[in-house]
């Protein structure tokens, strides 16, 4: 199944895949649509990162989609690469992963048995492995922020500004009622929700002590590896730093202050 092709074409060249046929789905108009559903947002399977960045509505209502999109690769890739493709290739560092976890996306799937939805929480099964069966396709996603008005932040740690895969990434979403959603990527076999940290924070305002207590839980939430991009020790340390910066930025933005979206917060 061919959408943006930014993964599929190199795989073809490397002979990592040898399909009997490729089906280009780009001519299906409905799959390009971004549709607001009054508080939730439907994203068709062909929505590219550039499409997200070009939408004023997305920027206003779902701001970390754009904050994330700005940090994905470069414009030449973003003009072709799709969000759905990002979670279908499912590398652990995929930038869409933490944002979709924090926005509690449902992944819409169609196959011979009909249509089904899979929560993004059940989607990632391992590096490059997902809940999608071989005879199924993803038609889109619907994201569900915790409240229309929310403060949020997406942080991507990489070796240099510009085109690089994440050493670690983090999405933070919080509401005025002190509900928190926190998700990390590139620091485990799959992107993950930091549920113990969310439990510690839920119902509470942020202060220095609570943030410090949350940082104590980071090591228990993640299981980073050492690879060519970073050591596991550096990743773990930076995940604590990013948590504090992400929480403070999300809180400031919730209160109408803080760095304007999109910002580079780490």
């Amino acid at each position: 199944m061919l959408a943006g092709g930014t993964d599929v074409v190199p795989w073809l060249r490397d002979e990592a895949i040898a399909p009997v046929a490729l089906i280009d789905i780009k001519a299906i108009p409905d799959l390009h649509l971004i549709t607001d559903l009054d508080g939730s947002l439907h994203l068709g399977a062909l929505v590219t990162f550039s499409d997200l960045l070009a939408s004023p509505h997305v920027a206003e209502r779902y701001p970390i989609l754009g904050e994330m999109g700005h940090l994905v690769a470069s414009a030449g890739v973003r003009n072709r690469a799709t969000l759905v493709g990002n979670i279908c290739s499912a590398v652990p560092s995929c930038d869409a992963g933490p944002v979709l976890l924090a926005y509690e996306a449902d992944v819409h799937i169609v196959g011979p048995q009909g249509a089904r939805d899979v929560s993004i929480a059940d989607w990632f099964r391992g590096p490059r492995a997902t809940a999608l069966q071989a005879d199924e396709i993803v038609t889109g996603m619907t994201i569900h922020p915790p409240a229309k008005s929310h403060g949020a932040a997406f942080l991507k740690l990489s070796r240099y500004e510009g085109e690089d895969l994440a050493q670690a990434n983090l999405a933070v979403v919080m509401t005025a009622a002190h509900r928190y959603r926190i998700a990390y990527g590139a620091v485990a076999a799959t992107p993950l929700r930091a549920s113990a940290i969310e439990q510690l924070l839920d119902g509470h305002a942020l202060d220095v002590d609570r943030i410090a207590a949350a940082q104590q839980l980071v090591a228990g939430e993640i299981s980073p590896i050492t690879d060519m991009r970073a050591t596991k020790e550096y990743r773990e340390h930076m995940c604590r730093v990013m948590l504090e910066r992400g929480l403070l930025a999300a809180q400031a933005r919730l209160n109408g202050a803080g760095p304007a979206y999109p910002a580079r917060l780490v």
Partner: protein, 157 residues
């Protein structure tokens, strides 16, 4: 099995016979005969194969030729109808490039940027070319030339 597709390359519409797995970069270089998109990393990282697809910059190494049947491709050869564009003249005057392998891609993304935003900031220029690797110059002479052109054209208008 070959399929005939139609490409409009730099304003000229032509039929091209391609196999389903032919990559656009290779089709442009070997069949259309346009050599400015360069074969670099062939995995979308370096930007040297950049072309404009319907006006937006893309990596031609990440696209199958058959995907763009009926679409418009622009390479540096098509930026100006007569001679060099003002942007190219500026880059030459500033000695912005050394080996020049990255130049076609950078010229195209800079041209696209200036088309959408005639007075970009330094950060916007750096962001626009961030997907185009240059191993010679450190980028500053390129950014300087783009900004100098934008400033001069802005003051002219």
């Amino acid at each position: 099995m070959k399929h005939e597709i139609t490409l409009t390359v730099n304003g000229e519409t032509l039929p091209v016979d391609v196999s389903p797995n032919d990559v656009l970069l290779d089709t442009l270089r070997t069949q259309v005969g346009v050599k400015s998109p360069k074969i670099g990393c062939e995995r979308g990282d370096c930007g040297s194969c950049t072309v404009l697809l319907d006006g937006a910059n893309v990596r031609s190494c990440l696209i199958l030729a058959i995907e763009v049947d009926g679409h418009h491709i622009t390479t540096v050869e098509g930026l100006s109808n007569d001679g060099l564009s003002a942007l190219q003249e500026e880059l030459i005057a500033a000695s912005s490039f050394q080996c020049g392998f990255c130049a076609p891609g950078i010229v195209l993304v800079a041209a696209e940027l200036l088309e959408h935003d005639p007075e970009p900031t330094r950060d916007q220029v750096r962001e626009a070319i961030s997907g185009n690797l240059c191993r010679c110059t450190g980028y500053d002479p390129i950014v300087d030339a783009v900004l100098a052109l934008a400033e001069r054209e802005g003051s002219d208008s």
